[in-house]
């Protein structure tokens, strides 16, 4: 039973109490088409009002868009002929164009047909279905709609071993409900993936209508009490245990289904554990790679989302990673926080943790000359720069480290070095080497750039 169905139907839009929660109060009105209910100012005719129970609720929450697909099932009794069913959603963030009525099961589908959906002029948060019933009986129907204001996000906690050779990874999903509506005992599904939307749900839902503003204090207390009462009970031994999250692929997406039922009150968030893996082998590479990691020489933690790294069962959704290092004696040392992009199964993960004082790079230009000057009518029209650089990498760490340095050039240039450089792309050269513990290496390179008429 919906917890708000107890409120009596009144003339103020189906019993909704102004400023309070929205579709918690919605009401289904069933009657014959002959009853001119709609043209009146929506006075709820008592003899036509039924308050069917919400049998089940399923939330499918997307992380790439502010979008949740809600499905509710209700048992309704239909008369033969046309039945008018009214659905309203005051003070919520529901997209009116998404609201659908669907009979559930073959009997219901054979007996019921939606003749039309009417959107009366007097309310932007209400619609009326005319449902033609061939065989009067009680049927289960599903009402589905999109709402804004419910979201989920992934979070990771990484605990690096003291020597940074491995990491314990814990993954969490956090559901946030700011929709203006409480969904009690809902089956929760989370969609990993980037869907295409052509209009934002919040815009379609008419912004400023929802958000559960003005909720009275007693309602807050009620919701708080309910949230505190929730436990994940295991009847076998009475011990609570974390809920499991089942993961399955669908088209280009993954669907995470949270075990059992969840209640997330309006304005609350809830965090659940997705998985924990201990001892994921890690590699540390120091990189100067401006195209990917910015202008600084930076430490990058690397692993692969595959079985060799105790992972690879599922892609890793984009989310926040909080990194700690084992400081010994069970204590943590905070390293930093950063955002991770979506990592497919089998793909490399590169976590940029920023510059590290224990492995540094010093760059300097040791020479700058101009040559091959050419003139036209006494004015300089062609010239060539010759620049020499030194890059010194020093490793103060107590272990060997890998280093990769990219050098990009602009214009018409030649690159020369005695070190073993490789071509990365048309304008970038790279060098990759291992630097022994407590050692340093100096790289020397010459860049010649032709300008003006000297350009090839």
């Amino acid at each position: 039973m919906n917890r708000y169905d107890q409120y009596p139907a009144t003339n103020n839009q189906f019993g909704a109490i102004p400023g309070q929660l929205g579709i918690g109060y919605w009401l289904l009105v069933i009657g014959c088409a002959a009853v001119a209910l709609i043209s009146s100012p929506l006075a709820a005719k008592e003899e036509l009002v039924t308050l069917p129970e919400r049998e089940s609720v399923q939330l499918t929450i997307y992380n790439s868009e502010d979008l949740t697909l809600v499905r509710e099932r209700r048992q309704l009794t239909f008369k033969e002929g046309d039945n008018r069913i009214q659905f309203s959603w005051a003070n919520t963030l529901i997209d009116p164009t998404s609201v659908e009525f669907q009979p559930v099961g073959k009997d219901a589908q054979d007996a019921l047909e939606v003749s039309d959906t009417s959107y009366p002029a007097e309310s932007h948060q209400m619609l009326i279905w005319t449902v033609t019933c061939a065989k009067p009986a009680g049927y289960t129907v599903e009402i589905s709609y999109f709402t804004s204001g419910i979201s989920w996000s992934a979070e990771y906690t990484g605990l690096l071993s003291n020597d940074e050779s491995s990491m314990d990874i814990s993954s969490y999903v956090t559901i946030h409900n700011r929709s203006g509506e409480e969904y009690e005992n809902a089956q929760v599904r989370l969609v990993v993936g980037v869907i295409h939307l052509v209009e934002r749900i919040i815009d379609l839902a008419q912004p400023g209508q929802g958000g559960g503003r003005g909720m009275p204090q007693d309602k807050w207390r009620e919701l708080e009490d309910m949230a505190e009462d929730e436990t994940n009970e295991d009847p076998a031994d009475g011990m609570a245990r974390p809920k499991e999250i089942q993961k399955a692929g669908l088209s280009e997406y993954y669907i995470y289904t949270v075990e059992g039922k969840e209640t997330v009150p309006n304005q609350w968030s809830k965090r659940l554990k997705s998985f924990t893996v201990a001892g994921v082998p890690m590699k540390t590479v120091y990189r100067l790679e401006p195209a990917k990691f910015g202008p600084h020489f930076t430490k990058v933690l690397e692993f692969v989302n595959d079985e060799d790294h105790k992972l690879g069962k599922e892609p890793l959704p984009d989310g926040i990673i909080r990194l700690y290092r084992d400081a010994g004696e069970g204590r943590l040392s905070y390293m930093g926080v950063l955002n991770s992009k979506y990592i497919p199964k089998g793909d490399e993960v590169k976590i940029n943790v920023g510059p590290d004082a224990e492995c540094t790079l010093q760059q300097k230009r040791t020479s700058f000359r101009k040559k091959d000057l050419s003139f036209r009518d006494g004015w300089l029209v062609g010239w060539t720069h010759v620049e020499e650089f030194e890059l010194k990498v020093r490793n103060f760490r107590g272990r060997d480290v890998e280093v990769e340095i990219h050098r990009g050039m602009m214009g018409d240039w030649d690159f020369d070095s005695e070190d073993d450089w490789e071509k990365h792309d048309a304008s970038t050269r790279k060098i990759h080497f291992t630097l022994k513990v407590n050692s340093e290496r100096t790289l020397k390179l010459t860049v010649t750039t032709r300008n003006g008429t000297n350009t090839k």
Binding site: T117, I195, L250, E252, I255, P344, A426
Partner: protein, 371 residues
């Protein structure tokens, strides 16, 4: 004998009272007599892409001689110049002699000649503004993404100032449904449903559609009978796509604007990003050559490394563009089979093995005669 008949269409009045008002007595100084012919049919046609044509039939009692009929439409959005009034029967002796337009009024007067006293059925047609229409679609894709169930909805919203107690609404493709429609009210009706429609799924890399270089997932429907459609041209409208999740319910997998699709054409719908296919672009060669004065050619090699992290092989369509005069070089990947859509656009189809095994596409071309 000269009889006057009043036809009124007032803002809040129903179309049922288009001809005649509820009062038998004259409404203004010009009216000598009003009769109240019954409404027989109202048809609202949407076959023009932008205009809405309303047609209504009335049986009017005429006296022998010249009859005068007034028609007014205060408060509604009727296009005065579009009004057509004529007898339904082709062989009638009744004749419309003239139409008069009183100054400053949303009204007109017809003079009708009748050879005898009779009842004659007339049809009145006019364009009506501010009746909005909208098409949208719901697609439920099978779990294997081979077929879909495609529902076509038609939604009308009435801001015309008139009210339709009951009318036949006719969509552009000829579907008819009978509904009432109040001023300000909208109605959405399922007009077509096709099951078992075949669909093609494509992975597309195209920087003009997705500037970050992410791979898009497209569904392509062919509007032909072979593919389960082909009955009507598909109107422009939003398509919301759900997929059977194999567990008795569906998940929403994306939406796109479906463009107007004539019979025989394709409707391409982007549902989202295929995050498990990654494309990395590198320009490996970018040289100027064959310089002649201020004119030069370029020699360019673009390399695309594609990794498909899915569990099964996938085909990626790369849509690449080069501006100006250019020639592809023979050492490009797939030189024998590439598809040059137009001068600027070239399409490559690349088979991408599963589980992240990289595949490289080399695109070697020269841009000629640049300055």
């Amino acid at each position: 004998m000269n009889k006057r008949l009043l036809l009124t269409l007032a803002g809040a009045a129903a179309i049922s009272s288009v001809i005649g008002i509820a009062k038998p007595e004259p409404v203004n100084a010009r009216i000598k007599l009003a009769t109240l012919p019954d409404k027989e049919a109202v048809v609202v046609r949407f076959d023009h892409p932008h205009q809405v044509l309303v047609e209504e039939e009335r049986t009017i009692t005429l006296q022998k001689g010249v009859n005068t009929i007034d028609f007014s439409w205060a408060g509604t959005n009727i296009d005065k110049g579009s009004i057509v009034f004529r007898p339904v029967a082709a062989d009638t002796k009744v004749e419309i002699l003239s139409t008069s337009y009183p100054p400053g009024e949303a009204a007109l007067t017809w003079s009708i000649s009748s050879p005898d006293a009779r009842s004659e059925k007339f049809r009145l047609s006019y364009l009506m503004a501010n009746i909005q229409r909208e098409t949208d679609y719901r697609a439920i894709v099978s779990n294997d993404e081979k077929t879909l169930s495609f529902k076509h909805y038609f939604k009308i919203r009435n801001w015309s100032g008139g009210t339709f107690d009951s009318a036949d609404f006719i969509t552009r493709d000829g579907k008819t449904f009978e509904k009432g429609l109040d001023q300000g009210e909208a109605k959405r009706v399922l007009v077509n449903k096709w099951d078992g429609v075949k669909l093609t799924k494509e992975y597309v890399y195209d920087l003009t559609r997705q500037y970050e270089g992410k791979v898009m997932t497209d569904y392509v429907l062919k509007n032909t009978k072979d593919m389960g459609l082909g009955a009507i041209p598909l109107e422009y409208g939003k398509v919301r796509i759900y997929q059977d999740d194999g567990k008795g319910t569906t998940a929403f997998t994306g939406e796109d604007w479906g463009q107007f699709t004539p019979i025989g054409d394709d409707m391409r719908l982007n549902i989202g990003i295929a995050q498990d296919i990654k494309v990395e672009f590198k320009k490996m060669v970018n040289n100027v050559e064959n310089r002649r004065g201020n004119v030069y050619d370029t020699n360019e090699v673009d390399e695309y490394e594609i990794k498909n992290f899915k569990d099964s092989e996938a085909t990626l369509i790369l849509v690449l563009r080069v501006q100006g005069e250019w020639e592809m070089q023979k050492d490009s990947s797939g030189y024998e089979s590439f598809e040059r859509e137009d001068n600027e656009t070239i399409k490559f189809k690349v088979k991408c093995p599963a589980k992240g095994e990289p595949v490289k596409l080399k695109f070697h071309y020269k841009r000629l005669n640049n300055w």
